[in-house]
């Protein structure tokens, strides 16, 4: 989406594509925090 509007975003933002936000497991969010993520953004 950022690509289509030619926006830039910092490298500290890592993306994981999912088919639907319903797929996002609470376990996955906790894994991200456990591995040092400062925040998790679920966008859909």
């Amino acid at each position: 989406m950022a690509g289509t509007i030619r926006a830039q975003y910092p490298v500290s933002l890592r993306t994981v594509l999912v088919p639907c936000t319903g797929r996002v497991d609470p376990d996955a969010i906790m894994r991200a925090f456990g591995r040092g993520a400062d925040g998790v953004l679920i966008v859909g």
Binding site: R14, V16, V18, P19, C20, G22, R23, A28, R35, A37
Partner: protein, 444 residues
């Protein structure tokens, strides 16, 4: 409706109700309950002899209970098929109708019947109902009626044969008030705007004014929403004909017990004054609600609703006809109240949309689908509940089964399962766990 009935490709099942829908696009299995009329549809000629000999009168729902019909009667004058049905709860079983029928069509032993239909696609068009709250004395004061009741009074085949008469004394009302937005745009009842009532108040007030030019008509509104083709011009003509459109809603209303007139207080917007006026009749432009039939079909077919209670379309802008479930389409007011021409457009659109998969005779699905691992399953059935498409079910061996046609690959089942017993093919847990691990490397 007659043309529809005569079309060889169309079968009308009237006096019936859909009670169950199973399956998926191309292969829906629908169970329909055909309610007992106690009259044989194939024999009845609609001659009306049974109606004329029946001694029992019941309120006529079609005339909004302003008139009566007989216990055995055709539903309304233009009903298709034009066959009688008996309201068994009011019937005294005198059997006068049975004796009078020349073709022996009346059959008191009839029972409700369930038939099964196979369908490739389904279009839901279950319509709307009128809000009937007790606002402004409706139900208490005789001369406070709804727009639908007014339509029946003005109808040439209605309870007064089209002559404007008011309920309390059957006299012609000269001073008439229309109150718009009754039950609409109100967080206590329905927050939404019911779309059609402003234009309805313009139409009915103009109709009365044209027929009875000496009428004094006032329409109280919040906004006059006359959007759409030619409606604003119609509103201008109504104002030019002498109907008073006043911005400001009615505050207090009371009935004069001697005359049954309504004494109404309102504050026109932009003035400091409270105006009190007396009217012979008050007409409520009441809100449009999703019909009882719409609520029933939504629970039978597991259809989603938007917060206003109407059926949920696939996309509010890009596709107001399809639903989330492939093969089920919406048309008319069940998807949201709309004017007649928009309902017709939507109906034509729904018919075309439904015909596309039927013409192709093929339906393509993606590969991303739920995959159960029954060895791990703890049988909590949380996935069955969580699936928004009703695609997960329990089969005879008590195993979880995913219908790959209804499944849309959203993955909610996989996220919900506490035992990790169901996963999403091509988006398995181990796949994106590896992804996250790589994106967030840890030192040790």
């Amino acid at each position: 409706m007659l043309e529809t009935d005569r079309n060889p490709n169309i079968e009308i099942l009237s006096y019936s109700e859909v009670v169950n829908v199973e399956g998926y696009i191309g292969n829906f299995r629908v169970k329909v309950k055909r309610k007992a009329r106690f009259v044989d549809e194939n024999k009845c000629t609609g001659c009306g002899q049974c109606t004329s000999v029946c001694p029992i009168y019941v309120p006529n729902y079609f005339d909004e209970n302003f008139s009566v019909r007989k216990c055995i009667d055709i539903a309304f004058a233009q009903a298709v098929p034009a066959v009688s049905n008996i309201e068994r709860s009011s019937c005294v079983e005198c059997f006068a109708c049975v004796d009078s029928c020349d073709v022996e069509a009346i059959d008191f032993s009839q029972k409700d019947e369930i038939i099964e239909i196979e369908a490739g696609t389904i279009i839901v068009a279950t319509g709307w109902d009128l809000y009937q709250g007790d606002d402004y004395g409706y139900g208490t004061y005789d001369n406070v009626i709804t727009q639908i009741q007014l339509e029946r009074i003005l109808a040439p085949n209605g309870p007064t044969f089209g002559h404007l008469k008011r309920p309390s004394d059957r006299k012609r009302p000269k001073k008439i008030l229309f109150i718009n937005c009754v039950g609409s745009r109100n967080v206590d009842t329905n927050a939404y705007c019911s779309v059609v009532c402003c234009n309805l108040s313009v139409k009915n007030s103009k109709l009365i004014k044209s027929e009875y030019p000496d009428s004094e008509i006032v329409v109280c509104y919040i906004d006059m929403r006359c959007a759409g083709k030619m409606y604003e011009e119609y509103y201008r003509r109504a104002r030019d004909s002498g109907i008073l459109f006043i911005k400001g809603l009615v505050g207090k209303m009371r009935e004069d017990p001697l005359t049954n007139n309504l004494i109404v207080q309102f504050e026109p917007v932009g003035t400091d004054s409270v105006v009190e006026m007396e009217f012979d009749m008050v007409i409520l432009s009441s809100a449009s609600l999703p019909s009882q039939g719409t609520n029933n079909i939504a629970s039978v077919m597991n259809l989603e609703k938007t917060p206003d209670g109407f059926l949920k379309e696939a996309h509010a802008r890009l596709d107001p006809i399809s639903t989330k479930i492939a093969g089920i389409y919406l048309a008319g007011s069940c998807q949201g109240q709309k004017s007649i021409e928009l309902a017709v457009s939507q109906a034509k659109g729904a018919a075309s949309t439904a015909s596309i998969p039927m013409k192709h005779e093929k339906y393509t699905i993606e590969l991303i689908r739920g995959q159960p691992d029954n060895a791990r399953c703890a049988k909590c059935y949380k996935c069955v509940e969580a699936c928004p498409y009703g695609a997960i079910s329990i089969n005879e061996e008590d195993q979880i089964e995913v219908d790959i046609i209804s499944c849309r690959g959203c993955g909610i089942c996989a996220a919900t399962c506490p035992s990790k017993a169901i996963d999403l093919a091509h988006y398995k847990d181990i796949q994106y766990v590896a992804y996250i691990n790589e994106l967030l490397p840890m030192e040790n």
